[in-house]
């Protein structure tokens, strides 16, 4: 639909024939294009601003090398800055805590929590030989607990038996007890989806945290999310203190600007990305790849 940023910046900057450093004016025009590209990629407006400010500072005064075109040089600065803001080093799930290590999944409705719960359970089993128990605390969505039970069965991961009538906090307690008594290394708590302005449900989420003392609290969010990414990430982080983010539906053709937004407003690392519906469609976060996608390259 659009020319990619690289082409656009080349169009603007490569006509600079004079040698020397990039001027305020050259960079200013280029930053308008960067802004456009980021907004088209769903990066939140405030984050776009702080990003372009940082890039501007880096680019102004930058020596234009004879061998490389100015457009390409600015693209490299933009790309590097994006990678830096996305978090240059991969941060895997941390299991360094006394067993059973609790991982709690939170997020908006339909973001992919239950699917990701099973994916993580499978990965921990396959890669770390971790004995993992999955527990659904979702007493609200029709057949949510059954969904996790089936996923556990399909992937040979234990799930906490369903007891009808228990509240989410009661299930959390039972899950942690079962985790201890059953000699599990990891207990993953799948919670019901909630909007971050639903006060009773946000309180319930904090209550679950208090009971289960999770070592990781992962915010599961859709890579296709638009400008709302900042609101949801901020709210979930403020209310439970997330330790990381999982970005789902990266197999879509969205540009994934939400990654930058959520990382920027929470400072919390993106730990994993979901790339499909099946249990093995989970990958480590690769900032360079996402940077390329956000820039449409």
């Amino acid at each position: 639909m659009f020319e990619n940023l690289s082409e656009r910046l080349s169009g603007i900057l490569d006509k600079l024939t004079r040698r020397g450093a990039l001027s305020e004016a050259d960079v200013g025009e280029a930053m308008r294009e960067v802004r456009r590209a980021l907004i088209e990629a769903d990066v939140a407006l405030d984050v776009v601003r702080s990003f372009t400010d940082k890039v501007r500072n880096r680019a102004v005064g930058h020596e234009v090398l004879r061998s490389v075109t100015p457009g390409q040089q600015v693209i490299k600065i933009v790309h590097d800055q994006l990678v830096e803001m996305l978090g240059s080093t991969a941060r895997p799930i941390d299991l360094e805590a006394p067993a059973p290590v609790c991982i709690m999944m939170v997020g908006l409705q339909g973001s992919g929590k239950t699917t990701t719960t099973a994916k993580i359970g499978k990965r921990l089993g396959d890669r770390h030989k971790a004995k993992t128990l999955l527990a659904s605390l979702d007493t609200r969505r029709p057949a949510a607990q059954e969904q996790l039970r089936v996923l556990g069965e399909q992937n040979s991961i234990d799930t906490l038996p369903i007891v009808v009538g228990q509240t989410p906090t009661q299930i959390a307690e039972r899950a942690m007890t079962a985790g201890r008594l059953g000699g599990y290394d990891v207990v993953i708590l799948d919670t019901a989806g909630r909007t971050h302005i639903d006060e009773p449900l946000m309180l319930e989420m904090a209550e679950i945290k208090k009971i289960s003392k999770p070592h990781e609290i992962l915010l599961v969010a859709d890579a296709l999310t638009g400008q709302d990414a900042v609101n949801l990430a901020k709210s979930f982080d403020q209310r439970v203190g997330i330790t990381g983010i999982v970005l789902t539906r990266m197999d879509g053709d969205g540009r994934g600007g939400a990654a930058l937004s959520m990382r920027a407003v929470t400072g919390k690392p993106i730990k994993l990305v979901g790339t499909g519906e099946k249990a093995d469609a989970l990958e480590d976060f690769d900032p360079a790849r996402i940077a390329g996608r956000i820039l449409g390259m």
Partner: protein, 282 residues
């Protein structure tokens, strides 16, 4: 109250409001350009500014605010519900079944998501809640075959409406889109005029990708109308403005919660006011 000039700086602020509501750059710029042309440099209060903005957005949305109309017929009216994963298809079907049931129609639901874990059980619970009959097959069964069987069953039972649930799929997954095309094809074998309505559910939190969703689902499944879900959160769903502008597809309903009654008609004025940051009924 303070008046301010609707000058270039104010217009830029307005454009930002629209961008933050997910209208996208082009649509946001187009709407602020109209304001610039018609109102530039007038003295105007903040609330007035927003009201003017809302009015401009409403102009785009008003033509697409069209409820789902199911004309009475001898054969079941077939409503196919499609969309990306987790966008709210199954829940919307439950809410629709309730609404139609209350209007006195006999509703059958087809559990066409034979893929996702417990998708069938989920729809069955909605069936039980709303009194709609549910036709389901084995997990992993062919979705098109199930849709066909469900239409046969709906006819035999004298149902007024058959609503077909489908598995969530991302529009760029060609093989999954081909499967959906097959569901449409197979329904036509039973009734060449089916599906009569193809509803695409759009999640309000989705950004610019929703445009691709409408385009590709439209091409593959012949989408006839939209439902935007999850408007009870903080997302404004402004991409719908760009979509109305580009595709002109009717928006039938909005989803405002997980309960059976959380389906409202789409009101262009309310929606536009929320985008402009005014009270929905302000």
């Amino acid at each position: 109250f303070t008046k301010r000039r609707l000058d270039e700086a104010t217009l830029e602020d307005l454009e930002d409001i629209l961008i933050q509501a997910d209208l996208g750059l082009a649509t946001a710029a187009r709407i602020t350009a109209t304001l610039r042309r018609d109102r530039f440099d007038k003295e105007i209060s903040d609330t007035e500014v927003r009201a003017v903005l809302a009015a401009e957005v409403e102009k785009v949305l008003a033509p697409v605010a069209r409820p789902l109309v199911l004309p009475p017929s001898d054969l079941p009216r077939v409503v196919l519900v499609v969309g990306v994963n987790g966008s709210g298809k199954t829940t919307t079907i439950g809410k629709l079944a309730m609404k139609l049931g209350r209007e006195g129609r006999k509703v059958t639901l087809a559990a066409g998501d034979t893929f996702r874990a417990a998708a069938v059980e989920q729809l069955k619970i909605w069936g039980a809640r709303t009194g709609a009959r549910v036709i389901a097959g084995e997990p992993g069964a062919d979705a098109a075959g199930l849709a066909y069987d469900a239409l046969v069953a709906a006819r035999a039972a004298g149902s007024d409406v058959l609503i077909v649930d489908t598995a969530g799929r991302l529009q760029n997954r060609a093989e999954l889109m081909a499967e959906l095309e097959k569901v449409v094809r197979v329904l036509k074998k039973q009734d060449p005029t089916a599906p009569h309505d193809v509803i695409l559910t759009l999640d309000a939190t989705t950004g610019q990708n929703a445009i691709n969703q409408v385009e590709i689902f439209g091409k593959v499944a012949g989408v006839t109308g939209l439902v935007m879900t999850k408007l009870d959160g903080t997302a404004r769903g402004g991409i719908l403005v760009a979509i109305a502008d580009t595709f002109g597809l009717p928006v039938h309903y909005i989803g405002v919660g997980e309960g059976v009654d959380d389906l409202e008609p789409f009101d262009a004025g309310d929606f536009a006011r929320a985008i402009a940051g005014l009270d929905r009924h302000g």
